[in-house]
Every structure is written in C-alpha cells, then in structure tokens.
C-alpha cells in the first residue's frame, strides 16, 4: 500500500540536454566556492587594512608629540620682551571690545564643549583643532 502511494508521488521530468544541466550545476557550484574564497580574501584584506590604519594612528600620535616638542623648544617671549628685543616691530594690542567679544565667544565654545561627551577621542581632537585654529587666527 505504501509503495503504491510512493509510486504515485513519483514525477518524471524530461531533460532535453542533461549535459548542459550538469554543466550549469557544476559551474554554479564553482561560482559559489569562488565567492566563499573571495569572502575569505576580503576578510584578510580588511584585517590588513585595520593593521595599516592602526600603524597610521600610532605614527600620527608620535608626530603630534614631536610637533608639540618642537613647539615647546621654540623660544617664547612676552610682548614686552619682544619689544625690547626688536624695537622696530609694531605690536598691536587688541581692543577691549574685541577682547570682550572673544571672551564671550570663548565662553559659548566652552559651554558647547562641556555639553559634548567628555573624554572621547573625537572630542579631544575637535578641541585640539579649534585651539590650533584660534592660535592661527591670532598670528
């Protein structure tokens, strides 16, 4: 009884070109394996990229320290000392209103900085960048 049921469920399909079907099947299998191999390669490439990125970060950290050290070694003079050393140089003093404006601006920036998440590397870098920009503006 069970065998009869099984036989009635069997379905026969005519394959016109079995060789082609076999070839397509094998080629699909080959492509799938190729993709798996590529996934592995991409994984390796990404790991290598991470390593290179880490090295870049380390080098840049060292560069930052070296630049800072150079800056520290450069002579620092107050306005008075500079005037004594080079009397022909004209040193302008910032106007009081400008100073006020700056201090207001500084306060706003400080408030913004305090609002931002403290401690994260991105914030530290943003702060360092704005400090340098300020120094450049004051040159």
């Amino acid at each position: 009884m069970a065998e009869e049921e099984q036989e009635s469920k069997d379905f026969f399909v005519c394959i016109q070109n079995p060789k082609n079907l076999r070839r397509n099947l094998l080629e699909s299998s080959k492509s799938t394996l190729s993709i798996l191999k590529q996934v592995y390669t991409v994984k390796q490439i990404r790991e290598a990229k991470h390593e290179v990125m880490d090295s870049v970060i380390n080098e840049l950290r060292e560069l930052k320290i070296l630049v800072q050290k150079t800056d520290d070694l450069m002579p620092k003079h107050t306005r008075e000392e500079l005037k004594k050393l080079v009397p022909e140089i004209e040193i302008k003093k910032k106007s009081a209103s400008k100073r006020e404006k700056f201090s207001l601006k500084d306060k706003e920036e400080l408030a913004q900085q305090l609002q931002a998440q403290p401690g994260s590397d991105m914030d530290k870098l943003t702060r360092a960048l704005s400090d340098i920009e300020k120094k450049l503006q004051n040159l």
């Binding site: 016109q16 079907l21 490439i45 290179v52 070296l66 150079t70 302008k92």
Partner: protein, 74 residues
C-alpha cells in the same frame, strides 16, 4: 599681534635638538605616506574582490535560471 610678518632673529637654545626632531618628523611623514599608499592598494584590491563577488553572483543567478528553464520545459 605683530602687524607685519618681518624676519626676526631669536635665540634658540636647543637648535640642534629642534633640527633633529624636524628630521624625525620628516621621516615619520614619509612613513605615513607609505602607509597610506599601502592602504590605497588594499582598498583597490578589496574593491576588485567585491566586483568579482558580484560577477560570480550574477553568474550563479543566470545558471540557476537556465537550470530552472531546463527542468520546467516539456
């Protein structure tokens, strides 16, 4: 603020040290450039692999489609 940028002569106590540091900085910058070139190369390789990946997927889709046709044809 100095009104004009004029050359000034200042005493640098650790001149040699500064020059040495600048040399190290130059070497480090060259190293970073090298690393960036390496990174760029890896990025190109990755892109190539991903393109091949897509190509192979298209191929599989095509082959499966052909097989489906073959199996459903009378």
């Amino acid at each position: 603020m100095i009104s004009e940028s004029k050359p000034i002569f200042v005493k640098i106590d650790k001149y040699k040290e500064i020059i040495e540091i600048v040399e190290v900085i130059n070497k480090k910058v060259a190293g970073v450039k090298q690393l960036l070139a390496e990174f760029e190369e890896l990025r190109t390789k990755e892109e190539e692999e991903l393109n091949n990946w897509e190509k192979n997927l298209d191929e599989i889709t095509h082959k499966i489609e052909l097989m489906k046709e073959e199996l459903s044809s009378e």
